[in-house]
Symmetry: C2
Subunit: 934 residues, 2 copies
């Protein structure tokens, strides 16, 4: 097993084995760039180290000594020499960049003897001592795990001794004093055996760097970024070059383009007479790289040339570390630069325009999920920094829905709704429920004290593209007194707060926001246009329940509406009384209707005299139904709702003229339309106990009775969707009539409405069959009233495991399947979205019991397998079947890649995620976009 590679043996494709740093150093050495000589210990050696209880693999140490020998011979500097000592750096570097997470040791090889040799050789004893001081401090911290405080204190004392304002200004004596003091500290604090033998230093440094793969920072970083724990780090050992050799030396970082904006020009900073950690520590302020052109014009030119060479070579924006030693440039590292979404878009489009990369490559260079940053209002950075500086941070919660907003605090939905149109409000609730929906619609942002990123507030606001911070446990919310407090600050209703949905921060007072404009972003528009040109399998639709959402979706490039939920139309405040009136009467009415239907059925069969008796029965059942006050209440409520629905549908279909609009028939659990059961229970109990007046009590009791009748232990698995449509058939019939009437109205205006009707919560083909028998004839009118008569498509949600498992039987009944991946995830895992986050899901994620939140990223092993089964067997049974996905996963790039592989026809996501989905679907079609999160 070969554990060590010379730079001449590696190349940039060997990052798995040599880490990103090692592979790129080898690459640069072979490109002829000025790289100090060295070699890299492989990640395989690191994995072996951990497999064998932190023992170095057999033979590794001999290989290291051997290759250090080669560096000694190349440079003519023996390691540990008291005349011309070789100094080396020992650096970590894994397959994926984990900046600052693992350890590195510089200037290794110095001791009380070799430091004097270096002083003699360079004629610069201050430099030699400065390097020694740095080495002792770094080695003590990294290899001996000593506290860094005493060293910092000693250094401060040294600066005081010679009135220096920075370490670079320390005179020789003060550095000398600091070295002695450092040795004292290290000797006292450690076990007294700070190693002076350079080889022992090297051995301990290698162990320390290997160990740093599993320090807490590194583990946490990997968890956050989904990097596997078993990759290991490489260790690069390289001859030192010295940026601290004097004022014609220095060190810095350069980007081949601006990583914040994407502009094409060398960007970065440098610091004269310094080593890398001086920049990182922030003790001295580096200069912009432009000044290097004045200070050392030749070196600036060389650096620019190297930067352009590396960008062309890697065909991507580069992040380059360099050191200047006595007027000579060395490149110490290059890697693809981390960049903002804006920079990623601009650099990718520019590079394609420059001919450096193909358009398809440009598309794959932008992590699709990052586009979210470009689509939402954000706080101005400077204004936010100032708010932080002024101590205006109230608390931090979960960044449930991105965006930023400032507004007046309101503590209930009604207050938010009243203020709508006048000024922005922030709706603050302990937690939200369906009852708050009109307030959420009206508010500029939502803030809750409880709940996780899949709580009601989080899910609803994300769907609306409205900022939300949830589970902000720092807040003490007292809705009764209409105030909250946090961080020692009291906030009353009407006070102004600012909510940052990107970060989860909540501030008191206003913060200025900046609003992006997609159309005005030339490069983004260009990139998305290229994405649309890719011959991709997946179309992109939007989930939109209102005409405003539909228009926004269209402007962001949606090809249709994949999910138009009708229950939100029911939730609207002025409609709730009708919904409640309808629900109160529905059960009685449906029983009366069933009696009529049975009599009609019997009559068809009967012959002779028996008909008379049945006719009498039918007449009496019809009379009972006609004369029933419940039936009248039910019909009136239904008529009112039909008017509203017709108008809603007409507006949405108008907005999406010519494009498909998939309308889901009512799906919400019925109790969501009533005041919360718990509230009613308490109110009635109190009214009874306190002897309230009879009328109030009776009214509340009657509402409680209805709520009780509709109450369910597990409403998520209850009387919803098509179960409702079958037991109370009038509701679905009303909805289908409203759709058809709206479409006909538009058809008469010469528009091309394309409604599709979707049936939710199906588990068996019999349900579809029965509902189609009731509903399909209602759509005939549509064919008659449009120019191009085509039947309205019927489809079903696949959101319960049994639907997926019996897809072959469902498919012949319908024109399309739409995977409701939210509910499908709930049922497949047995996770209640309303409860899981807070109770155990966040614990599961922190303990790595699940690698990702399955409500954000589609679980391929379980949910994905069901989708694959349903897609394959559905298509087999009905080759014309259209397949879409309309859960929140439709806007998640990783999930979109899965949908592509599963052979779906489209994804549907919230309007603001449509650009993300356009890019991600193109990337999926290009077979790219893997691991974009790292």
């Amino acid at each position: 097993m070969k554990y060590v590679y010379r730079f001449s043996e590696g190349n940039s494709s060997m990052a798995d084995l040599l880490g990103g740093k090692g592979a790129n150093l080898a690459d640069m050495a072979q490109l002829g760039l000025p790289v100090p000589p060295g070699f890299t210990i492989t990640t395989e050696a690191c994995r072996d180290y951990y497999r064998h209880d932190r023992q170095l693999p057999n033979g590794l140490w001999d290989e290291i000594r051997n290759l250090v020998g080669e560096v000694e011979r190349t440079l003519g500097r023996p390691f540990g020499s008291v005349d011309t000592p070789l100094l080396i750096s020992v650096r970590s570097g894994s397959r994926y960049s984990m900046p600052g997470m693992m350890d590195t040791i510089l200037n290794l090889g110095l001791n009380d003897e070799t430091v004097e040799g270096l002083a003699r050789e360079t004629g610069d004893r201050r430099f030699a001592l400065d390097s020694y001081r740095r080495f002792v401090q770094m080695f003590a911290k990294v290899a001996l795990h000593l506290d860094h405080e005493p060293f910092e204190e000693a250094l401060a004392e040294a600066r005081q001794r010679c009135s220096a304002t920075s370490d670079a200004e320390l005179d020789e004596d003060s550095v000398d004093w600091a070295v002695l003091r450092f040795q004292e500290i290290a000797g006292q604090a450690g076990d007294g055996s700070f190693p002076s033998d350079p080889w022992e230093q090297l051995r301990l440094a290698v162990l320390a760097v290997l160990d740093s793969w599993n320090n807490r920072r590194a583990i946490a970083y990997r968890r956050h970024h989904n990097i596997p724990d078993n990759l290991g780090t490489a260790v690069t050992i390289q001859a030192m070059v010295f940026g601290n050799r004097g004022w014609d030396s220095g060190t810095g970082v350069a980007f081949s383009r601006n990583p914040a904006t994407g502009e094409r020009s060398l960007y970065g900073e440098y610091l004269a007479n310094a080593q890398g950690e001086d920049i990182v520590s922030g003790a001295r302020t580096p200069k912009p790289i432009e000044e290097l052109a004045n200070d050392m014009p030749k070196l600036h030119w060389e650096l620019t040339a190297a930067s352009e060479l590396l960008e062309r070579h890697h065909r991507d924006l580069q992040d380059i570390e360099f050191t200047i030693e006595s007027g000579k440039l060395y490149i110490l590292q290059t890697r693809s630069a981390k960049r903002t979404a804006a920079a990623a878009v601009k650099a990718a489009v520019d590079m394609a325009d420059e001919g450096m990369i193909e358009r398809s490559e440009a598309l794959c260079r932008v992590p699709a999920a990052d586009l979210a940053q470009l689509l939402l209002p954000r706080f101005q950075e400077a204004a936010k920094r100032q708010a932080l500086a002024e101590g205006r941070l109230l608390g931090r919660g979960l960044n449930a829905s991105p965006g930023a907003a400032t507004g007046r605090v309101v503590f209930d939905a009604d207050a938010a709704a009243s203020a709508a149109g006048s000024e922005p409000t922030i709706l603050v609730r302990r937690e939200t429920s369906a009852e708050d929906i009109h307030g959420i619609i009206a508010a500029a942002a939502v803030l809750t004290g409880r709940g996780g990123v899949t709580s009601h507030a989080a899910v609803v606001t994300r769907g609306m593209g409205k900022p939300a911070v949830v589970g902000c446990t720092d807040l003490h919310i007292d809705p009764a007194r209409r105030r909250m407090s946090a961080n020692g600050i009291d906030i009353d209703e009407g006070d102004i707060v600012s909510v940052d949905g990107f970060t989860g921060e909540v501030f008191t007072g206003a913060i200025e926001t900046v609003s992006p404009n997609v159309a005005a972003n030339v490069e983004l528009s260009q990139l998305l246009a290229w994405a649309d040109e890719v011959p991709r399998r997946l179309g992109v639709r939007a989930n939109a329940d209102t005409p405003a959402d539909a228009r926004q979706a269209l402007s962001l490039g949606a090809e249709g509406i994949g999910l138009c939920r009708t229950e939100h139309m029911f939730f609207q405040r002025e409609r709730l009384p009708f919904v409640r009136a309808m629900l109160t009467a529905a059960r009685d009415v449906s029983e009366m209707e069933r009696a009529v239907e049975e009599a009609q059925h019997d009559l068809e069969e009967a012959r002779g005299e028996a008909r008379a008796a049945i006719q009498e029965r039918l007449r009496s059942a019809e009379e009972r139904l006609a004369g029933s006050p419940q039936a009248q209440q039910f019909r009136e409520a239904l008529d009112r709702l039909a008017q509203h629905q017709r108008q809603d549908f007409a507006e949405i279909l108008r907005a999406m003229d010519g494009r498909p609009v998939t309308i889901r028939l009512l799906d919400a659990p019925l109790h969501e339309f009533l005041p919360p059961f718990e509230d009613l229970l308490q109110e009635v109990a109190v009214l009874r106990a306190t002897g309230a007046d009879a009328n109030t009590l009776t009214e509340k009791e009657s509402m409680l009775e209805t709520a009780k009748a509709l109450h369910e232990t597990n409403p998520m698995m209850g009387h919803r969707g098509c179960r409702l449509g079958l037991t109370y058939p009038d509701i679905y019939e009303m909805q289908v009539r409203a759709i058809v009437e709206a479409a006909c109205q538009l058809g008469k205006e010469g528009l091309k409405p394309r409604p599709e009707i979707m049936i939710p919560m199906v588990v068996d083909a019999a349900e579809l069959h029965a509902l189609k028998a009731r509903l399909q004839h209602l759509t005939r009118e549509f064919e008659a009233c449009t120019d191009e008569p085509a039947p309205i498509h019927f489809g079903t949600m696949i959101e319960l495991p049994r639907a997926a498992l019996t897809a072959g039987e469902l498919a012949p009944e319908v024109d399309f399947f739409s995977f409701g991946s939210n509910d499908l995830t709930q049922m497949t895992f047995g996770f209640s979205r309303d409860d899981a986050e807070e109770k155990f899901l966040s614990f599961y994620l922190s303990q790595r019991l699940l690698s990702a939140n399955p409500f954000n990223t589609l679980d391929e092993a379980g949910v994905g397998r069901l989708i694959t089964i349903a897609a394959e067997e559905g298509r087999r049974a009905n080759p014309k079947l259209q397949l879409g996905l309309c859960g929140e996963h439709g806007g998640d790039p990783a999930s979109i890649r899965f949908c592509h592989r599963a052979g779906l026809d489209y994804v549907s996501c919230s309007p603001l995620r449509v650009p993300i989905a356009r890019l991600a679907t193109a990337q999926a079609a290009l077979g790219n976009g893997q691991r974009e999160d790292v």
Copy 2:
């Protein structure tokens, strides 16, 4: 297409095509038994009839006329002849016996002319007129759909005219009068065209019989018995023989053995001078068949011989219809007899002992589900009839759990528990919850006003084998006033009622019960012993939570315990305070524990001086934990529970010595251990509103806080099972320690305890991995303290779709899977068992949207598919994996057949269903037991 078969062309294997009746008539004709000549129209003709909008298939009528012609020639009697008229019967008969559901017409071919011919020919005008009167009445009802009342009235008047007490005693004149009157009624009521042409009569009769396949009675019967709607009926046309030809004629039904007891002797009844409908109508009381031996000894001998021949030929108990015409015996039908479970068992065992059938055949002759009748107390039939006659029926609900009990009414669980041991109680609740469990345990039966057959009361009582009637909406229950009323009767607490869980009936007052004894039932014991001898794949275990259950299961033949739920141990009343104390503290304690663990982990990694700081942090975290009152409360509660659990486990393991006992770690949603959230809400609201004293309020508020913290929107999908075990690890550790200590104690006594540990609610291998890391080392002690050291098996429930879909990853972590088919059904369908029945499931079943209740009979298309996937992929990944099923389906024969096909190793069911499962598993192994429900 051949639509008509002569008797000489058919045989008993052609029941699909000729119906049971037609096939057996053909068979008997060929055996040489005295069968009147005739032929059968096929079920295919019936299906064709319905496919073509109720038109007779082309050519059918010609075929019918042709074969009637053959009968005319055989008998020398032309159809419609005025001298020797042929009379015929037109009978329905489908593949599956549907007794009385479809129609039949006898004596067809009579009109005003032919009746006189018949009179002349037989010299018995009274007989001819009697036949004619029967024909008119039957044809009017069946073919013309006329009301039967006026005919009955006319007949009563005729009897009055001649002072006859029965129709058989009517004199010729009165019969003549009746015929005229019947013709008048038929003429008035119908459209006046009662057909006199025999061929037209025949055509209408065939249509009427075909139509009767889809009358409401037949449809309802098929729904109830799961018979497909598309089979169709055959129509048999046969020459009439006349039991009404005089006092040497008659008709009757004979069984080859007693269908109530299984005793071997001709059993049945007959009526002289009568046709079949005289027996059915109940107007005259038939004589026991024994009297035929006196009345007509030769015929009795002939009938006995025919009965024995048919039983030997069909190798099964036969139900035979016969007619005697003028001293000559004719056999008109034979079929396998419906019989009681007792008769089925005795007949099967006797026939095997007689050598008539193999033992394996005997096993397949008894519908396994019917054994339930033999295992439970029932009301004495006579006593119940009397109660009905006395108007003591209070109401009818759903027969949720079989059995019968009489006891004093109590309206809450505490009252039931207080009365325990003194006298039997009937617990009456609007509905039950986990809070009532101690009352359910104590009560003799449970009666609820709400809920379906899968409600809490139903599921729990079935598990306990205790009778229950649920959803008895006739009852008005007022627990506050401690009374209920129904059927005009008021029942106060303490009054006696009787509950019949077999039928759903509820009576006021006591009814005597009879208790069966399995061991005393020689034939049943014999049959089950044979079942155990079958080399069957499936073992049979029992679900048992208490030592008493375990002992009962053992006595009924269980080979082990497949599911020992530990939460019922927690529910016990004296333990609830400790459970609540534990839950109140668990979250805080687990957070403190996690802080200690993190510090320990950090310490392992740290080197040098940093260790000191971490050690300090660890010390302080440990101190905080040690000094915390919550931790103390938690530990104390846990210790108390550990004592109880250790004792519970020891007793169960002792009862099942040497047999496996699968113990499921705690699984119930936590809120079930607290007083109902709704009650607390109301109590606190009232206390606040009425200004109660501070202490009471504070205590209730604190309990409400805990309840709120544990409250979940969908508890079924919430913080349960291993999710709890992972977040609050002490609870599972306590349970595993209790299991190991109990087992060790028994081991020291020389017993052979075989505990298995089962982890519930798993969705991912990571959960199993993490829990095994915590729990497995705790079981090492067991290996040390028993003679034959074998590790305790670990297994997982497969009760969530994702567990089934990732079985290949779970299997290597465990020794066994146990399919929790109840929860798996809930999640696969998205049906909440607590809600579905009442809200929509009963509607679904009545509308045939589902063919069976998936909580009773395993749904093969969805749930079964998941089980098959998990079984195959689990075994592939771990060939030693044991597979069991422990949902309620484990006691359902159809589901057991599925388990057999899916390759499972055992089923586990409630103790009382163990005999059923023993028989059903043997039947499955013998490849039989299909459609046993018909």
